[in-house]
Amino acid sequence: MTMNVRTQQRIAVGFLFFCTVLVVLPVLVVLSIITYKGFPALSFDFIFGMPESGMNAGGIFPALLGTIYLVTGAILFAVPLGVMSAVYLVEYSRDNAVSRLVKLAIVNLAGVPSVVYGLFGLGIFVVFLGFGVSILSGSLTLGIMILPVIITASREALESVPQSFRTVSLSLGASRWQTIRHAVLPHALPGILTGTILGLGRAAGETAPILFTVAAFYLPTLPESVFDQTMALPYHLYVISTQVPGVREDFRFGTALVLLLLVLILNLTAIVLRYRFRKKKRW
């Protein structure tokens, strides 16, 4: 105890602050490098054009469209299933072995490496169910991957609805499902929406689960059905930055910028939505 406690306090707090800066700084660095180098590439033709001459000209439209298809498919699959799963956990299940096992399963699903989801998708959808390397297989794989995100967000949303809402509805003679449908779910909707948007962002940026289930290196035409392959934005970035030598630098940064913008806008929307919802809550 030779050091003055005040000096000690100042040094320690300074150190903690420095560490926090180290954690947050990369966000700004990554954003500014990609924006600075990628912005010049952005143009109408870049976003809405087909790739030409070995991806050194034209645009990224098929990859962007492919990602939109995949993400839509994933959400269509994961949201109904995830919300109902959360309804089960919050509204129906008691604290028994089954519900504890479900919760453990959700925790573990959230921790499964994304490339293992890719293997699973390949094994079950592409090979076993015979969907082939297709938008359907890729969407389902991504959907399963984001299921824990949707379930967790929906659970929190349902749990934040006061118990009295249910009691009142039940006492008025409504059935259990009527109560959930009319007195609980509407109030949980903003929270569920936030979770859905976060899931969208996660699905849009993932590469490993789509590597073997849907993603195509290059396709001259746009996909026409759910059984077609498609290009996808994150995979396209991987391809032009590691697999194809000599792609123009601004194209690589431009692709990264579009992907980053897509994901960050989704996440910011979710953050703002959650913030406003919390402020507005009346109970």
Partner: protein, 291 residues
């Protein structure tokens, strides 16, 4: 009344079925990994697979010794943990205990955005900025090394570590802080000796989940570690992790062949590792909430 009861019963069944989907999926993942991957373990032998030093999947005859890949994953993960654990815990302490409310909100949003950046984008940035930097600092022939991977992954583990550790710290009862303050302790003394001490189980869980994230990370690590399936002699050499091997080689395999099965067997190894890490972390997480 009976119609209504029937309807309720049907809805309840449907919801129950959706409820247990998560269990079904975990079981299915494991079964499908086993189904596709077990065959090769039969050919090669599980010991030879885990500890064999040669991964030459396309030579004739092929050799499937995953040891270099396991070492690659372990090396990169340990490096990432060494960087991200102290920094992550320190910044969790700052955010939870010291930062004013407004700063706290902004920092938390920033960390959430860091978590949101797709791994392929982080890998790309690591490749074009960190790689060349490490190459010139250490005078190497390539900047894509285990160290590059560790630094990149450290940042990807940060959001997990910080946010979960922060939750654990915030969950420490306020009386602890008040009692410490009443005895004349400074904020730092309270934070370090009382709060951090009480939040230890939750912080351990945070570290484990962060490590789980690092082991499973695929794209970024594949882009920055140089992809050499050999046992490295230093952290400044290229390595190849378990995840990167699956992602890089699956495209070249013949479906149902030995190489294909070997990659699924690596998947089994990854699944078991992450399952164990998450299970143990979950135990520690519960310990904090009970206090």
């Amino acid at each position: 009344m009976t119609v209504r009861k029937l309807r309720e019963w049907c809805i309840e069944r449907v919801i129950f079925m959706s409820g247990i989907t998560s269990i079904v999926i975990v079981v299915l993942i494991f079964l499908f990994l086993l189904k596709e991957g077990l065959a090769v373990l039969g050919h090669v032998g599980i010991f030879q697979f885990l500890f064999g030093g040669n991964w030459y999947p396309i030579s004739d005859p092929p050799q499937f010794g995953a040891f270099p890949l396991i070492i690659g994953s372990v090396l990169v993960t340990l490096g990432a943990a060494a960087i991200s654990v102290p920094i992550g815990v320190a910044s969790a302490l700052y955010i939870a205990e010291i930062a004013p409310k407004r700063t706290k909100e902004i920092l938390k949003a920033g960390i959430e955005l860091l978590a949101a950046i797709p791994s392929v984008v982080i890998g790309f940035i690591g490749m074009v900025t960190l790689g060349p930097a490490i190459k010139s600092v250490f005078g190497l022939s390539t900047g894509l090394t285990a160290l590059t991977g560790s630094i990149t992954l450290a940042f990807m583990a940060m959001p997990t570590i910080v946010s979960i550790a922060e939750d654990a710290i915030t969950a420490v009862p306020r009386q602890y802080r008040e009692a410490a303050a009443a005895m004349g302790a400074t904020t730092w003394q309270t934070t370090w000796r009382i709060v951090a001490y009480a939040a230890r189980p939750g912080m351990l869980a945070a570290v484990m989940l962060g490590i789980g994230r690092v082991i499973g990370e695929t794209m970024a690590v594949m882009m920055v570690t140089g992809n050499a399936a050999q046992i490295p002699h230093s952290i400044l050499q290229p390595v190849r992790t378990l995840t990167a091997t699956i992602a890089a080689e699956m495209g070249e395999t013949v479906q149902g062949g030995d190489h294909y099965a070997a990659l699924f067997a690596i998947g089994i190894v990854l699944f078991v590792i992450t399952f164990a890490i998450n299970g143990v972390a979950e135990l520690y997480l519960h310990r904090t909430t009970k206090r």
